[in-house]
Every structure is written in C-alpha cells, then in structure tokens.
Amino acid sequence: MGHTLLDKVWDAHTVRELPNGQTQLFIGLHLVHEVTSPQAFQMLAERGLSVRYPDLTFATVDHIIPTDGSTRPYVDGMAEQMFVAIEQNIERTGIPFFDRSTGRQGIVHVIGPELGLTQPGMTIACGDSHTSTHGAFGAIAFGIGTSQVRDVLATQTISVAKPRCRRITVNGKLADGVFAKDVILAIIGRLGVQGGVGYAYEYAGDVFDAMSMDERMTVCNMSIEGGARVGYVNPDETAYAYLQGREYAPKGDEFDSARQWWSDVASDADAAYDDQVDIEGESIAPMVTWGVNPGQVLGVDELIPSPESVEGLERRSIEDALDHMKLAPGVPIAGTPIDVAFVGSCTNSRISDLREAARVAEGGQVPAHVKALVVPGSQQVKTEAEAEGLDDIFRAAGFEWRDAGCSMCLAMNPDKLVNDQVCASSSNRNFKGRQGSPLGRTLLMSPAMVAAAAVAGEVTDVRALAAG
C-alpha cells in the first residue's frame, strides 16, 4: 500500500511524538503578517526566548495596510501602532521583511508563491487560516493561532494532530464561465462548512490537473471554508514550471535535484485514503452565496432556498441568514441588486483573476450608484497588470484601481461596507460583519462574476455575457 503526500510530508517533518499524543512537527516555512504576530513576539520576550531560525520566517504587511495611496504615518493610530510593532520586531529578530519599499509586499498568501518561497513537500504555517492556499504546490500548509506563532518562532515546531485524508476528485471539464472559485464553492456547498473538520483535502482529477497554479491556489485557499485546515494538489509539471526562475526557488542543477524530490513526495497511485468524494466537472455552474457562511451557496441560475425545506436548528440557520441578507426565499439569486463590487483577497487577486475580471469589465460601465474596486494581491501583480493595461480597462469601466492588501476582504483598513450595503465579492467569507459593517451583506463569487455584477448593477450569469 502506497502513501499520500500528506503521509510523506508528515513523516519527513516529524520531530517526535509528544506526551500529549500529538506530533511535534517541524515547520519549513513560516510566514508572518502584522495582525497576528505582535502578541506572539511579546510572549516570546516574556519567556526570554529568541527566534530559533530567523531565516525560515518571512514577514509582510497586508491586513491593515491602506490601499488608497495613504502614506505613513497612517491616520488610523492603531494601524500605525501595528506597523511600528512589526518593524520593531523585525529589527530585533532579523526576519526578512517585505514592506512596500521592497516592491514585493502583498497579501502573505500571494507573495509566498510569487517569490518562490512556497515549494512542494514543505510544511508551511502562518497565523492566518488561509495558509491552506500554499497547498496548491503540494505543501502541507495550515493556519495557526498566535500562541502557535510563538511556538514556531521559538522552536520552528508546533504540536499538532495528523489529519485524516479525503481525496476529492473532480473529473471532466468545466463549462465556459465556470472558474476555480466555482469549483471550491460547489465542493463546500456539497460537503458543508464543517465537512472537512479533522481532514486534509487532496484535490485530484482532470479539472485540477488542467488548472494553472493561480487556480489551484484559489481552490486550496478555501479549504478552510469547508472546515479543512489543509488542502493540497499533488505537484506536477505545472507546479515546476511555475517555480522555475522564481527568486527563492532552486536554480540550475539544484532545480533538477529538487524536482526529483518534489515528484517523489506526491501521493502514490495506490495510496490509501480515509474518504473519497467524486464530483462531475460538467455539473458545476457559476456559484453565488446567498447566506452568511460559504456553504450557503447555489448556482447563479437557482432559487434562494426556503427555510421550510429543512427542520430544527438548520431551519433557524436559513431563517437567520435570509433575515440578515434581506433576501426572500424561492426567488432567483440572479438579479439581486448590488451596491459594491470587490475584486481582491488571497482567494482571487492574482494576475489571472484580474485578467478574467478585466475581460468581462472591458467596454462596460459601472453604474454611478455602485462602488467598484480592484485590489491587486501584491505589488508585483499590480505592476504586471499595469504592464498589460488592465488598470486602464478597469478605470475606464468605472472601477477604482488600488494598492496591494487585504482591503475589503476583512475591512481592517479604511475599505468598509456602509450600513447594509450588498457587496459582490471575490473574497472568501460572507460572515455577518466581515466586510466592516455589522449589517453589511456579502455575496461571494468568482472575479468574472463580480465584474459582471459590477457592470450590470446586479447579480448576473457571466455565461450569458460570454455567449452574448
């Protein structure tokens, strides 16, 4: 019986079995951002500990950073304080730091892969639940809490239980207008927001094989929305081609040697899985969330569900969601008017996402009452997009073109929904209050669907635009 990538990476990084029954797991790459790290550095200092391997941690600023061109010192005193804190911690510890002056700043899950830091077979941790993104390369990557950030800084290890492994196979071909975002939303819709608790998701089959790295990242990114802390795709030629020539990727002979190791780490053909799920690629439509968690999702051509269709607490969840969203059951989700359109976040802010959105936006015009913004995932993505003229397309269509950051994904910076605005968003969470207003309403969808909604002023089936 063969082994999964999860088994192999786990074994290679196991330091020992701890008395508590969990594994002491070595973390090969640790990523840090301004929001979940200050307390960790503080705890470290309180215990008189230093950073064990400062060269295995990399830092950037993304969550709270303004994207509207503001400069230091920031008007928001608390944001400014967070920047001062991370800069002091960087200075004290010697951790490499990608701030705006480097030209390599961006959302931590965008820049790790972009710089070639993220590689197959690694263990990767970050004080951020969307660390699962890096699994696109065949790494075992997961989000950790701040106390565990402290543990990684002090020991380069964490105490963690090995997850079980579920293989999710999507075979066949996606229809035009259906993207990676729709695939992962469909998976979450099918397995539920807690279906993945205790599991790592291995994504396999024709659809993932055919995807670019950007698309695989979108899928792995939202594993956590399905409850799975870890999601990965086995490394292949697509991954190796992406890595070739990246700043931190191995070069020359070393690349060939690495490539051998990377392909050895992939799951064996006869590996055993704890669970398997099969989905037909053709069955997936462009998806839109209608509720307050990412599992409350449907095809853009479907009707908003009715609470009467289920019993008990589940019924209450639907009622509660419809109440917050101010949506009526039994009506089509298409045609729902929007106030804001947001293209961005670690799920969908890479160059290919911006290209898809631009393609739909081109020649259209965002109505005056809709605020539309495009926030590239990194400074490098921004530069690349501008070289292709995407910024001009967006501006001409009435979108704001911003600097890199998390922005309206979690609204810690000045980009926030107001009152009960409805936002068509390419981000990953539609939780109540997520986009900065407790009454705000979020509809998650692909970047192309966001662009379509922006131009139409309402939720629109992007397939109709593509056909027309």
């Binding site: 307390q39 106390s147 290890t157 105490s159 802390r229 607490l313 969840s317 979690l410 969470r429």
Partner: protein
C-alpha cells in the same frame, strides 16, 4: 486551575449561545484585531450581535452574569484563525466550552490557552441549554479527566479527544515547554530537509 497548570475541573454557572456555525468574526469583530494585546478584548466578545440584539444577547442577560461555561451548538468558532476569539471569551470569564462540535483551529487555540472544549450530541446540548435558560443559577461541574458534566440533578457524559484530555489533566496544555525540550531532534530534522540544508548534487 492549580498552580502547576493542571486543569482537572471547571465549576460555575453556564451561558448558552445558540446557533450553528458561529464564526470567529462574530465572536470578535476584526476591528479588535488592531489591539496589540489580548488583555482588553473581554468586553468586546460578540459585540456586533449584542448591539443588534439590543441587550437581548445572552452575554448581556443579567441572569448569566459571571458564567464560566459557554454552551454552544455545531461548528462553533469557524472561519478565521484569530486567537483573539478564545482570548476574548477567556478574558470575559469563560473557562470551558461545551458544544456539539468545534472548528479545528478554534479548538486548538482554546486548548493552547487552557480552555477545554467538550462535545455532546445535539439533543443533549439542546437539553443543557434549555436547563440553563430555565434555571441560570444551576451549578455546573465539569470533570475534565472523565468528561462527566453535572448540571444540578442532571448528568451528561461529554467527550474530549484523549490527547487533549491528557494535556489538561497533566498541565501540559501549553505545548511550548515540551516543544522546547527537543532541541537536538529539531536540529536533526532541520539538517535533513533538502530544501533547507541544500539540494544534493545529481
């Protein structure tokens, strides 16, 4: 908690917060992630919901004041990895959480800061929540080692993974001390990983 860190029993009154899939954005809104210390978070737990419910949220209900056991439903703590969520609950006085199920990162964060999260089947959660709502003064006692929960005359048998139970009972729930013990073994793994120590020549 004893001085040696052992967490074997939690006693006090309860507070039920009903609903499935309550995410960490709801437990502590992102604007409080701008605090660079956890100490100040307690008063802000569930802030937005409390404001919307205008004093009707259980955390604002005087009958549940001083409660130390939070009783929740399915997939509590989903979403963001923010440790600010359990920290806010802890600083508000919550010492244990009983629920139908928990999101993984939230569960781990709770364990690391010393909050046992125990699970009971949905129907028993429902019964415990109703019991507390009807008689908020009911004394709850949790035996972390066995998972036994008594609530007045009622008893429940809750579950906790063996490793986590052991961590609380032995006082080793904050893993850092044991992690620090393996210095040499850590170096050995560091040195054997080719992407750190260098790719072999071909």
């Amino acid at each position: 908690m004893a001085d040696d860190g052992r967490i074997t029993h939690v006693a006090g009154t309860g507070v039920p917060v009903r609903g499935n899939d309550i995410d960490t954005d709801r437990i502590i809104p992102a604007r409080y992630l701008r605090e660079i210390t956890f100490e100040t978070l307690g008063p802000h737990a569930f802030e937005d919901e409390r404001r919307q419910l205008n004093g009707k949220h259980p955390f604002d209900d005087a009958r549940f004041t001083g409660a130390s056991v939070l009783v929740v439903n399915r997939n509590f703590g989903s979403g963001s990895s923010r440790e600010h969520a359990p920290q806010a609950l802890m600083h508000r006085g919550i010492k244990a959480i009983v629920g139908e199920s928990f999101a993984e990162i939230f569960f781990g964060n709770c364990t690391t800061i010393g909050i046992p999260c125990l699970t009971l089947p949905a129907t028993q959660i429902e019964s415990l929540q109703s019991l507390i709502e009807e008689a908020p003064e009911t004394a709850l006692a949790i035996d972390v080692g066995s998972g036994a929960i008594t609530a007045g005359q009622a008893t429940y048998q809750a579950e906790l993974p063996a490793s986590v139970r052991e961590a609380f009972v032995s006082g080793e729930w904050d893993a850092l001390s044991s992690l620090l013990e393996s210095g040499d073994a850590i170096s050995a793994v560091h040195d054997r990983l080719p992407y750190i120590s260098g790719w072999p020549a071909r």
